[in-house]
Symmetry: C2
Subunit: 220 residues, 2 copies
DNA sequence: ATCCTTCAGTGATATTGTCACCCAAACCGA
DNA sequence: TCGGTTTGGGTGACAATATCACTGAAGGAT
């Protein structure tokens, strides 16, 4: 898939001017990452912009003492502005992007990116919107972490992660990393949920047995 | 001050093309806010971009139950991208900008902003850099709130807020709002600092008496 | 089977947040 | 100048969350 196709598919923009288009065809490249691979990180600073065609990238931050927190996820049709931010600010940051599923993306060198931004208003608004969405995502994270209760946050995540069969294949440690807390804390809250009949657990699995009950907790 | 002057002063860019310049002179306006006034907020969504000429804007987030946390400050020469983000994402957010000192700013209607971004590469990079800086600021806030100890964070803030005379005119409540914690917590930590000879307190004032000691705490 | 790694459970303790107060300093009008 | 009022700060009890140091169980590998 080319970047032109990508913009057409996800942004609904009309075809770009032919000369822009030709430049893009030449400069954009498709890359793939297997699930679990690091897409970018402190030790792996990209010099290109990424546009996700398929899959999910989980962006999380790791503390000195090894605790994690998930900042947001990049889905197909979105771009990963944090890499841009890093490139532009040329500042160290400790966020890392991990391919949560197999990932296909288009990368665009910075010079081409600059051109496209200047010449295509639709692309430009897309980029600004992407930045805006991330800023707002982060505001939400700050709000949750600073003021939220973990039982509420955990209930939210469980509802968000559950498939139709209500089963979530995850460990307590992974859930703790989602929320930026410790495994023991998650274990205790899940035990409480189980005692109240909201979920059931086996090793490596959480099954939702009362979504309505969880929603009640998530909303408080 | 015009926006053209502003870019020259803070961005070091050469004069803009004459036609762009003329458009700007016509569309940009200077606004002033007295210290303490709300510059933007959930109930006061701006439709223009702001560029700070003088003063400081404190951007903070308020939780349901009234606790605050300071996200970052906008200083002279910077722009407030959160308003942009809000405009573009057209999503609700609960951050608010308060003039911390008397503030002078230039506002630019959105259409003019779009034009300038598309026509002036230097301005465009400025805007991207502004976004990037805020993203990184927020990463820092997330890290602090999720993983930091309050004594460490409080020591950092005290060092950052102190003037040369080592005196800070602030209340415990204000410090609590900086960190997103409760007043009682700040009171107790400050008492501990005072007991250890790092600070002294009077009503409405904190005086640093041992900066080195505070730095030692701030680094841990 | 037996080891071995990963996952989960638990008690003790530290840190931080919440609640319900109290008291004192500064402010303000009469 | 007095007395009331507002604001800032102190305190104890308790709740929520984090940390530490373990334990044992589940499931995979040899």
């Amino acid at each position: 898939m080319t970047l032109v196709d990508w913009t057409a598919r996800f942004q609904g923009t009309a075809a770009l001017p032919r000369d822009v288009r030709d430049r893009l065809q030449r400069s954009a490249q498709t890359v793939r990452y297997a699930a679990g691979k690091s897409v970018f990180g402190p030790s792996n600073i990209p010099d290109s912009l990424m546009f996700l065609v398929d899959g999910t990238i989980r962006v999380s931050q790791t503390s000195e003492n090894g605790r994690d927190i998930v900042l947001y996820r990049v889905e197909a049709g979105e771009s990963c502005v944090l890499t841009t931010a890093c490139m532009l600010a040329e500042e160290a940051y400790n966020a890392e992007g991990i391919a949560e599923t197999d990932v296909t993306a288009i990368i665009l060198p910075r010079t081409s990116f600059d051109q496209l931004v200047s010449e295509e208003p639709a692309f430009r608004s897309f980029v600004f919107a992407a930045y805006s969405r991330r800023l707002i995502d982060l505001l939400r994270v700050v709000d949750d972490v600073a003021f939220g209760r973990i039982d509420v946050r955990l209930a939210e995540r469980l509802l968000g992660l559950a498939r139709d069969d209500q089963d979530i294949a995850t460990t307590h440690q992974q859930l703790a990393s989602e929320l930026g807390t410790a495994r023991e804390v998650v274990s205790r809250v899940l035990q409480d949920f189980a005692k109240r009949g909201l979920i059931s657990q086996t090793r490596g699995h959480v099954t939702l047995t009362d979504r309505a009950g969880l929603r009640a907790i998530a909303q408080s």
